[in-house]
Symmetry: C2
Subunit: 304 residues, 2 copies
């Protein structure tokens, strides 16, 4: 069981011959979460060996075409592949109308139910939660209502210390209880506190997705300390003015957010098509936040 993040598209509004528009897939123990769905997402899905039948949740950050134009083809393909399971789509309300209008064209209903969840970009809210993961939205600031998303793995149970099992000859049923936080009561009535029997479980992973947004330090509380922050970096500082006027960020600004939020690693993407040499993006961030990496099409990141 593993957790991986795969970058399907890393271009901003204009795709290039190598960079598709925005889409990430987060694989949490073989449950796929798709974040944004630019044109060609379903093609990258196939190219990068993702499995459609493991996809049950789609999060669309905002309704600019480079973040959702792939959803029509994706839904159509899920239909053709005979999907039956419910699909949850989290987005702003217009998307539901558009999808329904296009579906009508074909005079067919989808073979599977779709549950549309409306995002709001005035406050943070929990969108989804199961035994493994919790997904929270938070407001970004772009030309249209836009949300960022944080994926946080649920805290893991403590690990029992092997030597203690032998020392106290602990039974299997007690091991499970201790893992869940119980103390151990010995036959003579003596209580061994849980803290003496266990050590903390593996650190839970966390990943935040911030695209598209103007430089917005107000998001820091929502993304504080995440293992991996993806933050858009549409421009280099030489286009700062254009970044501001189009409500986008520069690589330098993305690094500043990462620094303020004390995240583990920063991945930048959503590059303007004007940039051929992406190393310039790293040149701009290295003195602010050294742990900066390029999110490029096809990149697979393991959380371990």
């Amino acid at each position: 069981m593993a957790i991986t993040l795969t970058i399907l598209g890393s271009s901003s509004a204009l795709p290039t011959s190598e960079r598709f528009t925005s889409a990430h897939v987060l694989n949490v123990h073989e449950h796929l979460f798709l974040i944004d769905c630019g044109e060609g997402t379903q093609i990258r899905f196939r190219q990068l060996k993702q499995h459609f039948n493991k996809l049950n949740h789609i999060f669309i950050s905002h309704l600019h075409g480079d973040h959702f134009f792939g959803i029509f083809g994706l839904l159509s393909s899920l239909q053709l592949l005979g999907r039956k399971n419910n699909l949850d789509i989290y987005s702003f309300p217009d998307l539901e109308n558009i999808i329904i209008n296009i579906t009508k064209l074909f005079g067919e209903e989808f073979s599977f139910p779709i549950t549309f969840h409306n995002l709001q970009n005035t406050k943070s809210e929990v969108l989804f939660s199961d035994k493994n993961i919790e997904v929270t939205s938070f407001p970004l600031k772009h030309r249209v209502p836009t949300c960022g998303f944080v994926f946080r793995e649920k805290p893991k149970p403590n690990n029992i210390i092997k030597e203690k099992i032998i020392e106290f000859d602990i039974s299997i049923s007690d091991i499970q209880k201790i893992k869940n936080g119980s103390n151990l009561i010995l036959s003579d009535g003596k209580v061994i506190p849980n803290s003496e029997l266990t050590k903390p479980g593996k650190k839970s992973f966390s990943y935040a997705y911030c695209s598209d947004t103007i430089f917005l330090p107000e998001i820091v509380p929502y993304i504080k300390g995440v293992d991996i922050l993806y933050h858009e970096a549409t421009f280099l500082e030489n286009y700062l003015e254009r970044a501001v006027s189009t409500f986008h960020s520069t690589a330098k600004q993305a690094a500043e957010i990462a620094k303020l939020a004390k995240v583990g690693k920063l991945y930048i993407g959503h590059y303007s098509a004007r940039y051929k040499n992406l190393n310039e993006f790293l040149d701009e961030t290295k003195n602010i936040f050294a742990e900066t990496y390029l999110a490029t099409d096809g990149l697979k990141i393991s959380f371990e």
Copy 2:
């Protein structure tokens, strides 16, 4: 000046990791005609070095997603690239409504005018004509209203025979007149008929596009003798029943149409994603129509 056809996508409804959905670009002396616009067309456009600013006419054969889901991203990119020129789109009326609805989302008008031309699939009609080319539609038979298209280069002027220029010392202004069909009148009043001065110009090219359709011999008069016929071949004969029930054709049926229409070359495409080895398609056609070729993503065909 040349005429080329480039295959941007050759898959049927489901794209594969290598085959995008339907789109062809016909380049007639640097005027581009896009025929169908499946998802990712704009990406293939870039990968195959086509130029957006030379594109003024888009023909959408029918409103199934694998033939038009790429138009949203394409139009959006033309907008971002600052297009000003009119774009002519030939399709069925619903497409205009969908495009307008999606455009509204962005709260912006397109920076360039779009002229929508409504196709009808009850009879053949001339859609476009200029000095170089005439484009005609004709009815196909699919699950929704569908048209095929024929592109015919206008007849070329006769070539003047070089020896005659010397023999009669023909002036430059007379050469032009003769090329346009005039006779030559000598100073003594003698008339040299045009047929003695000229030989026929180069053969004009013709190309027909037939996708999607059930096996339909009624189309033969419209495509008779074209240099290149593109005809869908979604299935092999082993799936004939499925071809019939979904209103598609098999490779064998495409070859039979090519034979009946006495075309120059047949290119087949729109392959079902179930087929990995496309050579099986040629095995099926070779005894019926030997001049059959595979239309695959990235193929460039020159008309010479």
